[in-house]
């Protein structure tokens, strides 16, 4: 009994550094951020005063934040829809039996393995009207095509979403593929015997069986999109104007560039709450399924 207690103590001692580090790096910053969000803190102006809920009220009057919220919503919804639609299609292709399937499964992950900042910087050139490979490709079909993707609101937003999907879609597809491989072949054989078409088999067997998989996968993928800032940082710097600013990019700018720590913390708290609500909702739906 004594020996067990002593072993338990040693175990706690060994775990303690990890707990302390976790406490300092996760719990303390969360509380500190909540606290700072009630202050007006500006390092450059030497201001540090309690303002109550003022920062929270200011958020909803700030056109830059409202634009960022709007684009974040568009970015998350469109990007996730494309991830799900094309991710499932790609997973189905990768699940087919054909020569070179292993090779394809390997190379398809290359974009995912690249850092987002590198992709963003390359995309800045890629969508350039004069030097970009995107327009170069289009001009092979439409010789006089001219478009500066990154200077118009809609095309810049499209380009940002396209690059995000291009990067993370393969990873999403590989994870869906893992789900597909758990579906027993016998189900498809039985369906075929019963006269089901391939589309019917997909809708009645495949989709229901991978739906929970997709919902679970959607949680981290949506979280990553909500907290995403590097693609915009490297590719558009939030421009044209502030039309491609994501909320996480806005937080970074407020905190690290403008040094408005209180206001930046307020935005971070609101994003945290939004993420908490979303993930709870998603988990609830997934568990129901």
């Amino acid at each position: 009994m004594k020996k067990n207690k002593s072993m338990l103590l040693i175990a706690w001692l060994l775990v303690l550094p990890a707990l302390v580090i976790r406490g300092f790096t996760i719990i303390y910053p969360i509380f500190a951020t909540f606290k700072i969000s009630f202050y007006k803190v500006s390092l450059l102006r030497g201001i540090n005063e309690f303002v109550g809920l003022q920062n929270y009220l200011d958020v909803f009057k700030d056109p830059k934040v409202l634009t960022a919220i709007q684009f974040t919503f568009i970015f998350v919804v469109v990007s996730m829809l494309l991830h799900i639609i094309f991710g499932v299609i790609l997973a189905l292709i990768l699940n087919m039996d054909f020569k070179g399937r292993r090779f394809l499964r390997t190379i398809v992950l290359i974009p995912w393995a690249m850092p987002m900042v590198v992709i963003g910087m390359a995309a800045k050139w890629g969508f350039n009207n004069d030097y970009g490979l995107v327009n170069d490709f289009i001009r092979r079909f439409f010789a006089n095509f001219e478009l500066s993707w990154l200077i118009h609101t809609n095309t810049a937003r499209f380009a940002v979403i396209a690059m995000d999907v291009w990067k993370d879609l393969p990873f999403f597809a590989i994870l869906v593929l893992a789900g597909l491989q758990f579906i027993p072949n016998e189900l498809y054989e039985a369906a075929r015997v019963d006269g089901a078409t391939k589309v019917q088999a997909f809708l009645k067997i495949t989709l229901p069986l991978i739906m929970k998989n997709i919902l679970i996968l959607s949680i981290p993928f949506t979280m990553w999109r909500l907290a995403s800032f590097d693609i915009v940082y490297a590719m558009t710097s939030g421009g044209p104007g502030s039309d491609t600013e994501l909320i996480a990019y806005r937080i970074t700018t407020e905190v690290f560039t403008n040094l408005n720590l209180g206001y930046g913390a307020t935005l971070a708290v609101l994003l945290f709450i939004a993420m908490l609500i979303f993930s709870s909702l998603n988990l609830y739906v997934a568990n129901k399924k």
């Binding site: 002593s6 040693i10 060994l14 500006s42 390092l43 450059l44 102006r45 030497g46 800045k124 050139w125 350039n128 009207n129 004069d130 030097y131 500066s148 990154l150 200077i151 118009h152 810049a156 940082y233 558009t236 710097s237 939030g238 421009g239 044209p240 104007g241 502030s242 970074t252 700018t253 690290f256 560039t257 403008n258 040094l259 408005n260």
Partner: protein, 405 residues
């Protein structure tokens, strides 16, 4: 129990080694320099010059090349009281932001004493690197200009000898805007366009901090007309930073631009020369104004190696240090006495003319510099895209001036 003892000993040894590794790495160097110049091919030669002359062993940390990232890292280092970096290089934007923060040590007593200070440009020192308390917080590493660059091949092709005034500027821009090329090129990404807005405001005789001044409106209208009325510059440059601008200039897409530096990019591309791309005299619109800038070496207040840092700073502020920067980085000496010593070439001649014939100004900076610059860049882009009118731009610009100045 024996096992437990072994475990405790193992943990203790690990912690001891961990601590030792810190103290060893800290003791290896006399000071740590956070530099923007590490990608220059001659950086190691310059570092060798410094170490030989001062006897210091310098640890160099490369600063990010992206301006936003750099500003964020420097801000984090200084504001957190991080003492692991002693000397940093700051541009005018950061120097203006941080000079009153107390994060930078004053240098007038140890480095920029009166006998040395008299050789540095007065206006620049007082406007950019002197705090409200009168402390000088930086040693200018060089003197630079936002110079006017032209492509001589295009000047010859369209029959222009020089661009002397606004009329020449417009006529040349129009003449060179053919075959998908443009007469004027800019980098109008929202944090970069600040330099050009301020340059045109200066050329039109305006005041960047007074947007009720009709000359300011005239300058913005001129930039708008270049895009929409005369079509001598492309709207797509709203996404361009300096790398895109320089590449297009090198490729012959543009005929004239405003640019910092002494043309290293054009030399690297074999496009530099009096018959190709070269620096030219600023045109005179209503005034013949030009911006000067510098990157200054500053001392982190939290530094624990202040004596070594002073030694380093005295070297870079001295004649030998200025000459080494010129030899290795083509950085024109900030000290007037040293500038006279360097062999004459087309750059030094033009810099001499700029200082004599132009109104030389420091750039207009507010304490919250980057926020102010970004706000102005954002509404400028909106004006160029017809999302707001020029009048609305001026109204909003004035409100930003009142908010940030």
């Amino acid at each position: 129990m024996k096992k437990n003892n072994y475990l405790l000993i193992l943990v203790s040894i690990t912690l001891l080694l961990f601590g030792l590794s810190f103290s060893i790495s800290a003791a290896d160097y006399d000071l740590t320099l956070y530099s923007i110049l590490t990608t220059d091919p001659d950086f190691s030669d310059w570092l060798n010059d410094v170490e030989t002359a001062t006897g210091l062993k310098i640890n160099v940390i490369a600063a990010p090349t992206n301006s936003d990232t750099r500003q964020q890292k420097v801000t984090t280092i200084l504001s957190s009281g991080d003492s692991s970096i002693d000397i940093l290089e700051l541009n005018d934007e950061m120097a203006s932001s941080f000079k009153n923060s107390g994060w930078l040590a004053p240098l007038q007593a140890q480095v920029l004493t009166a006998d040395i200070l008299k050789y540095f440009p007065d206006g620049y020192v007082s406007d950019m690197i002197t705090s409200r308390q009168g402390d000088i917080i930086g040693v200018p590493g060089y003197s630079g200009y936002l110079a006017f660059w032209v492509d001589q091949q295009k000047l010859d092709k369209y029959g222009f000898d020089s661009i002397d005034n606004k009329e020449d500027f417009i006529a040349f821009a129009k003449a060179a805007s053919v075959d998908g090329n443009y007469g004027y090129g800019g980098s109008w990404e929202r944090t970069y366009v600040f330099n050009e807005i301020a340059t045109f405001v200066n050329l039109f005789g305006g005041d960047y901090f007074d947007w009720t001044n009709p000359a300011n409106k005239e300058a913005i209208q001129f930039m708008y007309d270049m895009v929409h009325k005369w079509q001598v510059t492309p709207i797509e440059q709203l996404a361009d930073k300096y790398e895109q601008l320089n590449q297009k200039f090198i490729d012959g897409k543009y005929a004239m631009i405003f640019m910092w530096g002494t043309g290293a990019e054009y030399r690297a591309a074999n496009r530099y020369g009096q018959d190709q791309i070269h620096m030219a005299m600023m045109p005179e619109f209503k005034t013949r104004s030009i911006f000067t800038d510098s990157w200054s070496y500053v001392l982190n207040s939290a530094s624990k190696n202040k004596e070594a840092a002073y030694k380093f700073l005295r070297y870079v502020a001295g004649e030998q240090g200025m000459l080494s920067a010129w030899d290795n980085f083509d950085r024109f000496p900030a000290r007037s006495d040293v500038a006279k010593e360097i062999p004459e070439n087309e750059i030094t001649k033009m810099y001499q003319r700029y200082s004599e014939e132009c109104i030389v100004r420091g750039r207009p900076m507010a304490p919250q510099t980057m926020e102010f610059i970004t706000q102005m860049g954002t509404i400028f882009q909106q004006a160029m895209q017809d999302k707001i009118t020029i009048d609305e731009f001026c109204q909003q610009a004035q409100s930003f001036v009142e908010q940030y100045k």
